[in-house]
């Protein structure tokens, strides 16, 4: 698989605050990435660096083989409409769609028209007067219709209702099937997009803490539930990511796949096994203080 973007030791500091800390990550062509993490984890900063909007403090970025900064032959192949994208004063959505084709060589005007109708976007209302959801729709439509070889969606669903969100997921998948490209989707509505993602990059406090194929990730952790004593016996000696206890019942999330004998053992102890969703996994991995607190409570 061809790598389209990669970073090495990428660091971004703002004064004493480190937004990204020595990030090594790569993106290959024709793949849908989920860039997951909590607010302020560094998702937007990473995307702004990959699109040459910010300057790195340290480290390297290569997109299509060279730094994206001030290289129009690279930037021409990227599309990144930020969640907080500012539009020129007095601009209407119609202005955006008038100008966007000159910036994206694969722009599909017909597709854009269809999306505008799908999202019921008012074309002649000032962008300042749009609702949050309509504003997000502008970004989503530009991102999809641009068909840029590398397209970044930064929290694209903000303010979108459930219908519009699913419309976005559907159109994204349909178009992706016809025009494979690299898509990086930053989001914290993880469950909704879990089935869309082919690869997950989890970022927390400026560090990459998970960079894995989504298929491998699913089922890489298991929750065991049942009587406290039985649960304790079963998880003894394993790495426990989270514990929960209600009365005499307990549940514990353990890292790693279970073998067949282990599953049999769990059944013998009367324990229930459940796969951990991507969202739960992310919460466990990035919950930090919260997770540690729960563990302490459970141990006490």
């Amino acid at each position: 698989m061809t790598t389209v973007a990669r970073t090495r030791g990428l660091t971004k500091r703002y004064g004493s605050f480190t937004a990204l800390d020595s990030v090594d990550v790569s993106f290959t062509e024709h793949r849908i990435y989920g860039l997951l993490g909590r607010n302020g984890a560094g998702k937007t900063t990473l995307m702004q660096l990959l699109t040459g909007q910010l300057f790195a403090s340290e480290g390297e970025i290569e997109v299509f083989g060279r730094t994206p900064v001030e290289h129009s032959d690279v930037l021409r192949r990227l599309c990144f409409i930020a969640e907080s994208q500012r539009y020129p004063e007095d601009f209407k959505p119609s202005h955006v769609f008038k100008i966007a084709p000159s910036f994206f060589e694969h722009w599909d005007a017909e597709f854009a028209e269809r999306l505008i109708a799908d999202f019921r976007l008012p074309l002649n209302r000032r962008i300042k007067k749009l609702s949050r959801g309509q504003l997000s729709a502008v970004g989503v439509i530009v991102g999809l219709a641009s068909r840029a070889p590398v397209t970044f969606f930064d929290e694209p669903y903000l303010g979108l209702d459930a219908v519009a969100r699913h419309l976005f997921y559907d159109r994204l998948l349909e178009d992706y099937a016809e025009h494979p490209r690299t898509i990086v989707l930053s989001t914290h509505l993880i469950d909704e997009v879990a089935n869309l993602l082919e690869h997950v990059v989890l970022i927390d406090e400026g560090r990459i803490i998970l960079d894995q194929d989504a298929e491998e990730l699913r089922g890489s952790a298991t929750t065991v539930a049942g009587p406290s004593a039985a649960v304790e016996q079963f998880v003894d000696g394993r790495e426990v990511m989270a514990r929960d206890r209600i009365g005499g019942l307990a549940s514990a999330t353990i890292d790693g796949r279970l073998t067949a004998p282990e599953r049999a053992e769990a059944a013998r102890l009367g324990l229930e096994l459940a796969p951990v969703s991507l969202q739960q996994l992310v919460v466990h991995l990035t919950g930090g203080a919260l997770a540690a607190e729960q563990q302490k409570e459970a141990a006490a």
């Binding site: 699109t51 299509f64 032959d73 000159s102 994206f104 490209r181």
Partner: protein, 256 residues
């Protein structure tokens, strides 16, 4: 339909394509009234006011002669859109920089495109004003002896001097506004305060030196010597300096 993968191999193309600059021009002109509508609206308003004042003067005392009306040459009405155009210079950059970068423009292409817009606007304004000076002179001040365009330094040395001075002035106000905005984009408020204070210090320092060394008469004599063309060549030089400064500053500016 068969899958059509979008090419993603390592690419090497010309770093400079004129279309990359042209699309920035297009971005600015998506809303053309900012550049081509409002300045003429302001000039039109000033013109109506000038004509009205002339009518009032004429009506109040029928004995007023054409020489008396020469006083209107001191009217600043002809440069009334300049304040607005400083704001246009500021807004042009403040409102479109983030968006242009979001669409994948380089800072260099963005600044080149913006500069091209300013050149076009300055040329258009200069042509309009220089023509109106001619028209005002030909009609004897709109048949009333009014002076609106044929005022200040305009209408003295002919069409091309009028054109050149208006062009230089337009370009100067647009680039000063735009360059100041690049400083804001890059260093925010702190940058504005430091550069503003620095500029003020420079100007006040210059005035102080000229005052203490009593060189004002020489300075005015020199300005008189270089004439209208000379003075506006200096203004054009300041416009070029602002443009160059803006370019250097914006190359490292980041959107918010």
């Amino acid at each position: 339909m068969t899958a059509v993968p979008i090419s993603a191999a390592v690419v090497r193309e010309d770093r400079f394509r004129f279309s990359d600059v042209a699309r920035v021009v297009k971005l600015h002109f998506v809303n053309p009234s900012i550049y081509f509508g409002v300045p003429w609206l302001i000039l039109g308003g000033a013109w109506a006011l000038s004509v009205l004042i002339t009518l009032i003067i004429r009506g109040a005392s029928p004995a007023v002669t054409a020489e008396d009306m020469e006083g209107m040459r001191n009217s600043w009405a002809v440069i009334s859109p300049q304040w607005y155009l400083v704001v246009v210079g500021v807004q042009a950059v403040a409102f479109t920089f983030n968006f242009a970068l979001g669409l994948g423009s380089t800072r260099r292409d963005y600044w080149l495109g913006t500069s091209l817009v300013f050149l076009v606007v300055a040329a258009e304004m200069a042509t309009g004003i220089a023509l109106l000076v001619q028209l005002e002179q030909a009609t004897g001040g709109w048949w009333l002896g009014a002076h609106m365009f044929d005022a200040l330094w305009f209408g003295i040395d002919g069409f091309w001097v009028d054109w050149f001075s208006a062009f230089a002035l337009q370009l100067f106000v647009l680039f000063v506004g735009a360059a100041a905005t690049t400083i804001y984009l890059r260093w925010r408020m702190a940058g504005m305060l430091v550069s503003g204070a620095g500029l003020l210090l420079l100007v006040v320092g210059g005035i102080a030196i000229a005052t203490f060394t009593e060189t004002w008469p020489e300075i005015f004599a020199w300005l008189g010597e270089i004439g209208i063309v000379g003075v506006f060549t200096l203004v054009l030089g300041l416009a070029v300096v602002s443009a160059a400064l803006g370019y250097v500053v914006i190359r490292r500016a980041t959107p918010r």
